[in-house]
Amino acid sequence: MNNTAREDILGSIRSHLATSAPYDKQEVSRGFARMNADQNPSSSVEICGQFKESLEAVDGHCVIVQGDEGIAGALTQIIRGGRVAISDNPDVERLLHLTDLEIDELGIAPDAHDIFRFDVGISSVQAAIAETGTLVLDSTRERHRFVSLVPPVHIAIVRASQIYRTLGEVLTLIRKDKEISPAVTFITGPSRTADIELTLAIGVHGPQELYVIVDEVN
């Protein structure tokens, strides 16, 4: 392909690093030490509560419920009919059917062309982070890449057992996979911008509203 460019660039890197060597010796060491920078003290704060607080701080909505009944109840509060797209996690469909909601259309993981007409997207998650109120979505484990992105409202269902305390723990979790997943997304609140006079506006290209239902007993 362009192997010449590759060799030129790598060669340029090597030769310029070699040029630097005598000057590197002259530099007084500044002692930028590698260390385990983050030793998070274990918190006694209850993890679901911490997640809720973190998410609400970034304008997400969070409701803590108990079990499938609780989830269904929350869905009934949030959804006002319309066209609903859900991920391909069978749990999500099952939970939706537990409600008595009348919806105009149900789409299961609609493709790129169809997804734009839906009003609400519902998915589960693969993990969540309490200290930041973050949802972790792995697109190989569930088809929710568009469902969680395109419709103006995203509802995410989280089980307490999926919530980790810190970002670092989740990064370790993702890295554990021998072959890391091709598409992992972290979501922290609804979409936003401050590009106009640094004034916050919620709801830009991603969802305008994010609802997270946390089942604290599972």
Binding site: S12, F32, R34, T188, H205
Partner: protein, 456 residues
């Protein structure tokens, strides 16, 4: 597009100082950014440790950049990404235009990428017949206005909401309103169908992980997720210095970047993309192309002082802290990279021919170094560049003046005489109008301290 040139920085700056809309916008933006960054940094008791750690990681990467790049490339390729090496801007643009042409692309959606601004990619794509749509709100605004970005992370921050309202009214037919929520939702509605229609999505890269071949991109708006999920082809453009060694290193950088840039604990979205989809039916692009851009970066490795330029994670904190940027804004620098970091990388990337003024556009106050999350010693870099520029490009009168200065400072007799002469000259000659236009000048003492000491 009427790009200002860095060659005329002084004139550009004077014009900027006369623009009251701009000055108001800058004061608002830089002080808010500064307050938010400060509060976010203060919320982490180990902030200083994180900075040191981040710098240590970057120093390691840059000292072994060839090795880490090869590791990244090997891992990304094994997961289905196609890697393209671009020695300079022209080569990068040509690669990307060819990719777009090969796939018969007509519409290209872009998320914000300073690297593509650096190469002027949009102009190249348009010349090749492509419709290019900037989707980041700030980039969209400046695209409508046909202006270059004025800030590394908030490209339209030089515009007041009134100016944006007028722009949307003129270009989109939107009724005049400066309600930010309505302006934003207009942009959302207008751009929505572009995402669906686009054949190619082009993004930048915040971090490239050598250990796994993963590219990491952070944002608040969701346009990066749309750009990198919907179109069939995703092209990611990155400077070669964006590599980090390990996935775990993200823990450090994701703590520093959002806080330093916008004062957020985390941006709304982070996308971790490793190669292409596993199965044909999976959601996401069919092809992932990663363009590695040199364009002068490898040259910066040649000295420890310049090498640290490449540690930059493009947070923009130095811009907000800089007293010069606060007064004149980004356009005056005539470069995609303005402010303190721009003053040091622009001459290195573009050559000093046109950008020799930039390293002098600083009072060396050091506020930038204080806020840099990776501890780049920008004042030291500025001095390093000045030492390269002055002997070669300094005005003849200035070079002679300093040669004379050295002679005088070496000889106390000349030094004393200089003072005497100065006293006389000052009485008859309007000294240094550059000073006296705005400030009164302190007269030379009738007796120097040396002379007073002799009297004792």
């Amino acid at each position: 597009m009427n790009h200002l040139s860095s060659e005329t920085f002084g004139e550009n700056a004077k014009a900027a100082l006369a623009d009251s809309h701009l000055r108001g916008a800058l004061k608002n933006a830089t002080s808010l950014f500064g307050e938010r960054r400060k509060a976010a940094a203060a919320s982490l008791p180990n902030w200083e440790d994180l900075r040191s750690e981040a710098r240590a990681i970057k120093d390691d990467v840059l000292s072994h950049l060839d090795r880490y790049l090869e590791e990244f490339v090997g891992n990304a390729e094994s997961r289905g990404a196609k890697i393209h090496w671009a020695r300079d801007a022209a080569e990068a643009n040509s690669i990307i235009c060819d990719l777009a042409a090969e796939s018969n692309a007509r519409i290209v959606v872009k998320s914000k990428s300073m690297t593509t601004e650096e190469t002027h990619l949009n102009a190249a794509l348009e010349a090749a017949g492509m419709q290019v749509v900037e989707t980041d709100l700030g980039e969209y605004i400046i695209q409508l206005a046909d202006e270059p970005p004025s800030h590394i992370i908030a490209p339209a921050i030089h515009k007041t909401r009134g100016q944006i309202a007028e722009l949307f009214n003129a270009e989109l037919g939107m009724p005049l309103t400066d309600d930010v929520a309505r302006l934003t939702s207009t942009a959302r509605a207008t751009l929505r169908d572009r995402f669906a229609a686009a054949d190619v999505g082009i993004s930048g890269v915040n971090f490239a992980i050598a250990e796994t071949g993963t590219i990491v991109i952070v944002e608040n708006e969701g346009n990066i997720r749309l750009t990198t999920s919907l179109p069939r082809i995703h092209i990611a453009v990155m400077g070669i210095e964006k590599v980090l060694p390990r996935f775990a290193d993200l823990d450090v950088f994701l703590k520093l970047l959002p806080r330093s840039g916008t004062g957020q604990r985390l941006t709304t979205y982070q996308s971790y993309i490793t190669g292409t989809k596993r199965q044909a039916g999976d959601e996401g692009p069919e092809e992932l192309h990663i363009v590695l851009l040199d364009n002068g970066r490898s040259r910066m490795l040649a000295h420890p002082v310049t090498r640290q330029s490449l540690a930059c994670i493009r947070c923009g904190a130095c811009l907000n802290a800089c007293p010069v940027y606060q007064q004149v804004g980004g356009h005056a620098y005539g470069s995609v990279y303005p402010g303190p970091i721009g003053a040091v990388i622009t001459p290195q990337l573009m050559g000093i021919e046109k950008s020799a003024q930039l390293p002098y556009a600083s009072s060396l106050c050091g506020a930038c170094r204080e806020v840099c999350p990776v501890k780049i010693d920008i004042p030291r870099l500025l001095l390093h560049l000045r030492a390269e520029i002055a002997p070669r490009k300094g005005k003849l009168s200035e070079r002679l003046a300093f040669k004379m200065w050295a002679q005088v400072m070496m000889r106390p007799s000349l030094y004393k005489m200089g003072a005497v002469v100065g006293r006389i000259v000052q009485r008859f000659v309007p000294v240094a109008k550059a000073w006296t236009n705005g400030r009164d000048l302190r007269p030379i003492e009738s007796k120097s301290f040396h002379e007073l000491w002799s009297d004792e």
